[in-house]
Symmetry: C2
Subunit: 335 residues, 2 copies
Amino acid sequence: MLDERKLAVLRAIITDYVENSEPVGSKALVERYRLDVSPATIRNDMATLEEEGYLTQPHTSAGRIPTDKGYRLFVDRLTSVKPLSPAEKRAISTFLGGAADLDDVVSRTVRLLAQITQQVAIVQYPVVSTAVIRHVDVIRLHPDRALVLLVTSTGRITQTHVELPVETLDADVEATAVRIAGAVRNLTSAQAVRALHQLVRDAVEDSVLPGVVHALNALLAADPTTRVVVGGVQNVARFGDDFHAAMEPVLEALEEQVVLLRLLGEARNDVTVRIGHENEHVGLQSTSVVASGYGMPDDVWATLGVVGPTRMNYPSTMASVRAVARYVGRFLAEG
Amino acid sequence: MLDERKLAVLRAIITDYVENSEPVGSKALVERYRLDVSPATIRNDMATLEEEGYLTQPHTSAGRIPTDKGYRLFVDRLTSVKPLSPAEKRAISTFLGGAADLDDVVSRTVRLLAQITQQVAIVQYPVVSTAVIRHVDVIRLHPDRALVLLVTSTGRITQTHVELPVETLDADVEATAVRIAGAVRNLTSAQAVRALHQLVRDAVEDSVLPGVVHALNALLAADPTTRVVVGGVQNVARFGDDFHAAMEPVLEALEEQVVLLRLLGEARNDVTVRIGHENEHVGLQSTSVVASGYGMPDDVWATLGVVGPTRMNYPSTMASVRAVARYVGRFLAEG
DNA sequence: ACTGGCACTCGGCTCCTGAGAGTGCCAAGT
DNA sequence: ACTTGGCACTCTCAGGAGCCGAGTGCCAGT
């Protein structure tokens, strides 16, 4: 049904439309791309492509524009992710190289992604499945209130408050902190939960312990709900003139952590693309999401990606996302 | 020059323009507001107001719209901040009441402000000048690298990394941590800096100490550079149709922490308004900023505010900002 | 299977026109 | 001295007519 030339036509239409943002007609197509056939032939091909659902026309007697299905075929079969130029690679590398700590890495990454794709960047904080607990601390802030701190080997710090029983001595708090720290050090989340359970049963006399353990369990359980950072929101204004109407729901979606997490989806170690209506979130159905997991080859930590208009340059966006994901993964693995 | 009626005319024009987003003419004005004079009289007043720079017309023979100077006069002399309704107060109170920790308070505040003003909300994390250090911790992450943690009495946690000398023993790290923690507990930033300086001179044999102290000094110095959180960005899309052009620079400005901090300005304990060109940042010259410090009556901690179109409802926005600032201050003072 | 030709459609541009809103100014009234 | 009604004028905006051109679909011929 779709021979080689029809695919070439689809590819040319998408390329042209991405570049000029205007419906593209048969004549312009043969002029700009060396298709070596007449416009009439192209018209027939276009008619077929439209029947199959890959193209559509905004109105009769205008050029064609790609549908979501058209973009999908393009992404799946008609293009390959092109490696970045050495200069770009170097830029990524040096930009990330200056990062001081985890927060800095994430914030640099999000700015970098937004910058080179000219779209909205989303970066999820890394969760390492093999992360172990480095430290637990209980810090008394008030007579009846203490701060519980949890530090993992990746430098992630989470905290929560806990109420202390009345008449708790500083020494009690101290003792509990030491006891817990000793019990869970170098354990993974799952192991720690078991160890804490055991600890509560063994040390029944410790009045501070149960509250703190409860708080810690909450922290350990909340762990996968990682933070998501967004950047380059101003690029939404550049998504195109036809975008102004659909803009508010997009901005709204970008403020919801939950939406963003679902958007990034399951962490996979290659680049995935979700086009237009393939996104579940209704406010984002005129956008596409290009995402990639990052981390070690066999241990994906988290996901990052960009949100842009369906009419985006997929090859170049995918290349950028992939490259940034790899560099960040490598950088974090080293540091 | 500006008698009572001319001021009433200006007030009516601003009220009407804020409501309907359309230039307002003399006839509509006398109809909608009981001015008890003829349109011709109003026209003369309008001509005067325009000469004085309070009004302008988009084109000859259209109605008038206020200038920045007109809005300025309006907020300074023609309006008073109206207290919120009991229902609104209750909503603010209950919404903030559920907050668990500092992060939660800030994030709830920013959402609340954006929600009730329908504009972009900005909240600066509180810095308490009287905050004291509750805890310092040094946590070894790698053989040659450790995490330095600083916890203040407000629950603020800052952290940084420090390189350890080769062959450092765990016990050395532990000892240093205990020593430092003991030295600075319950001190303010300024006191702590002095105490640490003393400590370095006294404990020359401690090889870990200098690095950690250096890191701590950086943390203490960085303290006032507090974080700023933004919310309700989607409301930019609702600022008005004429706003679409000026939108990108606004979104851009909202991503820059530095710009935001300057925007909020000096923390003062009452509501301040900066209108249009009174803002230094060029991207924000078609917006107004309504800000207020929050904290205890005599101890302002930080600033919060909203960014909206110059054509905004100043009395209601100012009332909301003031109310939220007060509630947050009170809430933080209690908790 | 491709091509050239041809009739047809339809959006966008320009030009025009009328309606309406609003202004500025003037002379008369209070 | 301020206010008012009247009036001529300006300018935007909406609507309609008409033309242009890009683009299409179809068909007959190669």
